[in-house]
């Protein structure tokens, strides 16, 4: 019989799961207020998904264009999110992003510089001004290394290659801890904690064509869901317009939006620059309508409007999809992304060194001479764990969430560059919120041994079964299902088919089997992740089925327009009393009138207002 007293236990005030940008930032911030801070991560420190972010982090520093202001960043974010963002979160983000970037520089980040010696900023889709602080096209690496090198000198107890299995609660429903497993040895450990911050990232590994690594299996969503927390907006999955499409083995790997930010253009097989045909009504006034104007903008003319390649990601991804469907796709079924004809070879190597290297090695293609082939790839979850904006606490007491695994900040579609700044802003708020909560608890909440035993038994039964399903092949069928039925363009019948397949896979998963021992066994790890992937996939498919409109990244072929009615609602997923997933429409809170005014103001009016404010 399993005896819980034989399992090692460690106590924390604040424990963070996930060591990407958000998790590290939360842990660092928590050390200011809390004595015992822990951090666990599935990979080695410094390898989390943040490392792959390329383009930059958005903040209205105004170093390149002085007209920038948090209000304009906020307006861009809301319009990019199709106004479904949680108003307060978008406000907090826009207001605090600049301070967080400057703080990161004090912690050791070395951004590219302007001529004046300040942090340089680049253009990106949906941002009115050059706004992204960056380091070539490896900004994520700079961010995670800075946080890592700074964080290891703070008093944080770091546990690497440690997988969180499930959350423990006390009798009153407060968070009490989490059961984890060291990947190296297979040893279980219980972390008792007053507050728990999830910074576990997204679940893009449920799709076949994805820019996400093995870690992105929706662990945070599933653990929070099992603990009774509410998930929100799961139907909004961002397909980044430019993933690699050739050769097959690299399909989905990200090609930074920075390529377009630096002037790259999209062409179809007929050589036509097709994005001019896909400018949405709402963005017509702010987008160039001729190649001549787009060229002037690239040359630095501040009166020229932005090229259509820099429309928001949802728009560009759909346009590429439509061109391919109409038979005008590139050789391997994508679009051509051409920077060679727009910039000198020297510029390209300087501004986009890792793209140059990536294509050279993986596709044997020189991007300073030839166009790249690109197509949509599953990239980011706008939805996630529902949190309170200022504290980042979920609907479960003591459970916090920040970064990609939290919902609300990005609405129906995220702007490029808003993710890295989100990690810093909400990582910081989570660290403070969780510390405050922990301080107010007089004693450590107590979990029940039975719960801990159940979690451990669920994990070990996968190894102990005589025979069962191969987890790798299960994962492949889930990926096929999501790619084909819950992809970039969705319809009722396919979504129903997708849900049916997920139900079948859930049944099969009860009998998943991993061969071998518990020591560093990827088959077992894959099997453990399957439950999380399936919960994530089900929440996505059910929410996508319920939302009968097209908004942002969620595109329904059978409901092609945004609906006034749906603007009023979020979709909430929650585990019901009977153990099945409840997916409901919930009316949004009314917007703060001042924020609503800013978001809906015309650009001219808002720019005039900001200029006026600065004078006085």
């Amino acid at each position: 019989m399993l005896d819980i007293s034989e399992i090692r236990q460690i106590e924390f005030d604040v424990l963070v799961i996930g060591a990407g940008g958000a998790g590290l930032c939360a842990a660092i911030t928590a050390t200011k207020e809390s004595k015992k801070v822990g951090l666990i991560c599935k990979s080695l420190l410094g390898k989390a998904h943040t490392v792959m972010a390329e383009g930059g982090m958005a903040a209205s520093l105004g170093n390149v264009d002085k007209r920038d202001h948090w209000k304009i960043h906020f307006r861009d974010t809301m319009r990019g999110g199709k106004m479904l963002n949680v108003w307060r979160m978008a406000e907090l983000h826009a207001r605090h992003a600049a301070d967080r970037v400057i703080e990161l520089e004090q912690w050791g980040a070395v951004f590219d510089r302007t001529k004046e010696g300040l942090i340089n900023q680049r253009n990106f889709g949906g941002h009115r001004y050059p706004r992204l602080a960056h380091v070539g096209d490896r900004t994520g690496l700079e961010m995670i290394r800075t946080l890592q090198d700074y964080g290891i000198h703070k008093d944080i107890d770091i546990h690497m290659e440690c997988t969180a299995l499930d959350i423990l609660k006390d009798e009153s429903g407060k968070v009490a801890g989490v059961v984890c497993m060291y990947r190296e040895t297979g040893e279980f450990i219980i972390f008792k904690t007053k507050s728990l911050i999830l910074a576990t990232g997204g679940g893009g590994k449920a799709w076949e064509i994805t820019s996400n690594s093995w870690e992105y299996t929706g662990d945070g969503y599933a653990m929070a869901y099992e603990a009774g927390a509410e998930l929100m907006d799961l139907e909004f999955n961002q397909f980044h317009p430019t993933g690699m499409v050739w050769p097959p083995s690299v399909k989905g790997i990200l090609v930074t939006e920075g390529v377009r930010g630096e002037g790259g253009i999209l062409k179809n097989s007929e050589g036509k620059r097709f994005m001019f045909d896909y400018i949405p009504e709402k963005f017509k006034n702010e987008t160039a309508d001729t190649e001549e104007e787009a060229a002037r903008w690239l040359a630095g003319d501040k009166d020229a409007r932005r090229p259509p390649e820099l429309l928001t990601r949802d728009v560009v991804a759909r346009a590429i999809n439509a061109e391919v469907k109409a038979g005008r796709g590139s050789k391997h079924g994508g679009a051509y992304l051409d920077i060679a004809s727009e910039r000198s070879a020297e510029d390209i190597k300087k501004k986009l060194p890792s793209m140059y290297h990536q294509f050279k090695v993986l596709a044997e293609l020189d991007i300073t001479k030839e166009p790249m082939e690109v197509g949509p790839t599953c990239h980011y979850f706008m939805g996630g764990i529902r949190v309170e904006a200022d504290t980042t606490m979920s609907t479960v007491d003591g459970l916090f969430a920040c970064g990609e695994c939290a919902a609300g900040m990005h609405g129906a579609n995220r702007l490029g560059g808003n993710s890295l700044s989100d990690l810093l802003v909400f990582g910081n708020l989570a660290g403070m919120g969780a510390s405050k909560y922990a301080k107010e608890l007089s004693e450590m909440p107590k979990f029940s041994d039975e719960d801990a035993k159940r979690i451990i038994r669920n994990a070990t039964s996968i190894l102990n079964r005589e025979e069962g399903e191969n987890p790798y092949l299960m994962h492949e069928s889930l990926q096929n299902n999501m790619q084909n039925n819950v992809g970039i363009i969705r319809t009722d019948s396919e979504l129903q088919e997708g849900i049916k397949n997920i139900e079948n896979l859930k049944e099969k998963n009860k009998n998943v089997k991993a061969n071998g021992s518990s020591q560093f066994n990827p088959g077992w790890h894959e099997a453990l992740a399957m439950r999380n992937l399936l919960i994530t996939a089900e929440a996505v498919a059910r929410a996508a089925h319920l939302r009968t409109e097209s908004r942002g990244a969620h595109t329904r072929d059978d409901f092609r327009d945004e609906s006034e009615e749906w603007y009023q609602y979020n979709i909430i997923s929650k585990k019901g009393e009977d153990g099945t997933m409840q997916v409901i429409k919930e009316r949004r809170k009314d917007a703060d009138p001042e924020l609503e005014r800013i978001a809906n103001a015309t650009l001219e009016d808002l720019e005039a207002e900001v200029a006026e404010e600065r004078k006085s």
Binding site: S43, L44, L45, G46, K47, H49, V51, M52, L61, N63, I102, E105, Q106, W107, G108, V110, D112, R113, E116, G117, L118, N120, V135, G136, R138, L141, E142, R145, D149, Y150, I152, H153, E184, S213, W214, E215, P247, P248, S249, V250, I253, S354, Q358, V361, L362, A363, N470, P471, Y472, L473, E476, A514, N515, G516, S517, Q519, F520, N521, P522, G523
Partner: protein, 248 residues
């Protein structure tokens, strides 16, 4: 490209062997793809580390036919069709299982290094640090490092002499160089570079530079300048005199 032969190390630090596998290889595949295919079909419990699959995270470092490489950036067509591909763990670190090694020693070295200490002079402003691009370029060059530890793996001091207690290794020499050459860093790490981090141990064979997947000029731009700074400080008679006179 057809069916290819592999030999992959299976086992741990105490015992292990090279096991034969076969795998169908298609156009554009890298070695990591083949490892994943083998894992899914024939060896479910075969341990391997990886993350980004695009040469950005430095997780999948292994030795392929004896050469230290990132498995995700090594294309199958680099090898002739009849060549057997041998995949073994990094030799300089203890094996955990199969191709996965215990690299925790590296994390301990990083912790010994005094982190960035921003100067509070007039260039530290409300709008951030004021530094010219040309002055940060060297530091940025070192900060491209993805911590794959291939350089640590081939460093003679670590690999052949086993002198882990005397030298932090090339990865952390360039971490030190990135801090020492940061225009707004105030700390002085030169004494520690000489005494604690073992700059004198490196005999400039440039093996580290050769294997760096980020093409960082570890030896010429990082280690040698640091060695020179140590020499200037401790062994240059003119400088010693200069410091005595001006009490610096």
């Amino acid at each position: 490209m057809g069916n290819r032969k592999f030999k992959i190390y299976r086992g741990d630090n105490t015992k292990g062997e090279l096991v034969d596998y076969n795998c169908d290889v298609t156009e554009g595949m890298v070695v990591l793809d083949a490892m994943h295919r083998i894992q899914a079909d024939d060896a479910n419990d075969m341990a391997c580390r990886w993350n980004c699959k695009a040469g950005k995270c430095g997780s999948c470092s292994v030795e392929i036919n004896g050469r230290p490489k990132l498995a995700c950036m090594t294309r199958m067509n680099e090898y002739s069709p009849d060549e057997t591909i041998m995949i073994t763990p990094l030799k300089s670190f203890p094996i955990i299982k199969d191709t996965v090694t215990d690299v925790s020693w590296n994390y301990k070295q990083n912790k010994r290094i005094k982190p960035f200490s921003p100067s509070q002079n007039k260039n530290n402003t409300e709008k951030g640090l004021v530094m010219q691009q040309v002055d940060v370029e060297r530091t940025q060059h070192f900060r491209k490092c993805i911590e794959c530890y291939l350089c640590q793996n081939v460093c003679h001091v670590i690999r052949d002499q086993g002198a882990q207690d005397k030298f932090v290794g090339p990865r952390f020499m360039i971490r030190l160089a990135s801090l020492e050459m940061h225009p707004m860093d105030d700390a002085d790490r030169i004494p520690a570079i000489k005494e604690d981090y073992g700059s004198g141990m490196c005999n400039i064979t440039r093996c580290c530079t050769e294997v760096c997947p980020e093409d960082i000029q570890i030896t010429d731009d990082g280690i040698i300048p640091l060695k020179e700074r140590v020499v200037d400080r401790y062994f240059d008679p003119f400088m010693i005199l200069f410091r005595k006179i001006f009490k610096k």
